[in-house]
């Protein structure tokens, strides 16, 4: 039998093949360009943020010295005799953030450990969306919750000394902590789940209990991922506006007592924005000056968090 008999159909006749592009594909290039432009918009956004912040901020510091701004202990920019010491806002932010972390870190890590090490797939499939719902509740609703429920509750059950004021950093911080539990939990869980099963099996092979494996094997191995989660949580707490605006009050207050009313950086920006400052006034510029400070702080946090996550991925992925 020879092949010649069966070559009648199909195939491409020899010599008739050209491998060149029949006509240029301009469409592909145009599409590619458009897609690139869409991606580039994100860079434009960052540039936009920096530009929007920088011009009024520079103008602000032409009128107020940087040193006074960073070290002054009184913040009253909208008064007839304005004071531009940002420390009270920074301290307010710090107090609320610390309270939030005290709530969020243990709860978030507890939830993450359970989801990653103990929960069956079915349990996880139910619990994770519920946690996501917690992350999706509007912050203004959380603020309402802090003001009308948590604060009265704290006042009722307070045992030592004076109870918290009607507006206070404590209830805002607690509720903010609840809000960022999902942030801590989901990122930490990712990190813990990424720890190779071999490593854990090694722990079990030595006769360790689940708890011992979780705390001595998984936890240290996932540490940079967990730290990244916490740093990101800090960044979210520092940047959160509505809860503090609603529940922590509107008075700048250089105090470390969370029972008192305080104003955070974000709450100041929000409050000043509501006040509709005339463009070009010093009040308008303070929004941008405080905004710049907030942006720089969160930028550093985010950079640290992104770097830690990357480091973690390099090790295990």
């Amino acid at each position: 039998m020879t092949r010649a008999e069966s070559t009648a159909a199909g195939g491409v006749a020899a010599g008739s093949v050209s491998l060149r592009r029949p006509r240029p594909r301009y469409g592909e290039a145009v599409i590619r360009g458009a897609l690139f432009a869409a991606a580039l918009l994100s860079v434009a956004t960052t540039v936009g943020i920096v530009v929007a912040l920088i011009v009024p901020t520079v103008e602000f510091f032409a009128e107020v010295s940087v040193l006074d701004f960073l070290t002054g202990t009184e913040w009253a920019p909208l008064f007839a005799r304005p004071k531009f010491g940002v420390l009270p806002l920074l301290v307010g932010t710090l107090v609320v953030t610390v309270v939030a972390l005290i709530v969020a870190i243990p709860l978030g890590l507890g939830a993450a450990t359970f989801l990653s090490e103990y929960a069956t797939d079915r349990v996880r499939r139910v619990l994770k969306p519920v946690l996501e719902v917690l992350a999706g509740i509007p912050t203004v609703v959380y603020g309402f919750f802090a003001l009308t429920f948590v604060t009265p509750l704290l006042q009722d059950i307070w045992l030592f000394g004076d109870p918290p004021e009607g507006f206070n950093a404590l209830s805002a911080g607690i509720v903010m902590g609840i809000m960022i539990v999902p942030t801590v939990a989901s990122l930490s869980e990712d990190a813990m789940s990424a720890v190779p099963a071999d490593l854990k099996a090694g722990g079990y092979a030595l006769g360790s209990s689940k708890r011992q494996v979780a705390t001595r094997v998984t936890f240290p191995a996932a540490l940079s991922g967990i730290v990244a989660a916490i740093v990101l949580a800090i960044s979210r707490a520092v940047g959160e506006t509505m809860i503090v605006l609603v529940a922590a009050g509107g008075t700048p207050n250089l105090s470390a007592d969370p029972r008192e009313a305080m104003q955070t950086m974000t709450a100041f920006i929000g409050a000043a924005g509501i006040g509709d400052q005339p463009v070009g006034s010093i009040g308008y510029k303070t929004i941008f000056a405080v905004g710049s400070l907030l942006f720089v702080i969160t930028l550093v946090m985010n950079a640290v968090s992104i770097r830690l996550v990357r480091k973690f991925r390099e090790v295990y992925e």
Binding site: G10, G11, V12, A14, L19, R21
Partner: protein, 308 residues
Amino acid sequence: MDNSPSADDAPTSADAPQPAATGSGLADPALHLDTPTRAGRREIPEQPKDPVMLLRDVAVYYGGFRAVKDVNLDFGRREITALIGPSGCGKSTVLRCLNRMNDLVRGARVAGSITYHDQDLYGPKVDPIVVRRSIGMVFQKPNPFPKSIYDNIAYGPRVTGMKPGSMDELVEQALRGAALWDEVKDKLKQNAYSLSGGQQQRLCIARCIAVNPDVILMDEPCSALDPIATARIEDLMIELADRYTIIIVTHNMQQAARVADRTAFFTAEADATTGERTGLLVEYDRTGAMFHNPRDRRTEDYISGRFG
């Protein structure tokens, strides 16, 4: 590689197994070609006549790493050529160069020349997309698109701008060509994922022939399939070789023995100084000749199961 012409030495059925005579080569009795082989049934000229593709001193680099070197091969028209060898020997790498799928790997570079229909496959004006329209590929794992069976077949003709008189007819032809029509003719609108693994792979072959290629590359097409599905694909390959040039990578020597007209054996060797392992072509011959009478010690060791 043996390039000495010897036209007189026409292959005959004498190429069939003669274990007693050759002695070496077939340690494994299973290799005794108890299934009728294509090599046994067809006359294969010693040298490929009218080769479709010529590879000269081909080497493939990934970045600074040389994956395979010194490949000289001629692929015969409407023949089945098998590329075999231990893992890491560069056989799949070579296959992927033939329709420029290696372009998709970052840092991949081809040295030497690959000539296809008198054109340099890596020439400056050559469009890889056009290349892939005439040199199709079937992959290791069946990879149907998550669409209906019909749309899987029609996809190629649609994207390549073919204007068939009737798409339905074209789909039917392609499915018949891949011996799948009878099994799926009543469920063309069903998702391709509802098919079995073997059917999926035949669907991928049908999808490939729907764009009427010249050459079909197959990268271990049966490695994810059970023996029955494998046998069907092998039969199909032999059928398809009447119309298409087929180049198949396989890790399965029996498979090469069963279907291939010619076989190229690759191996990997470590560089004496750097220790870097590079694949290379050891021997290229008619399948029967190679399995019964390998010329190279390394080939003999491999097919007799001493390594790999």
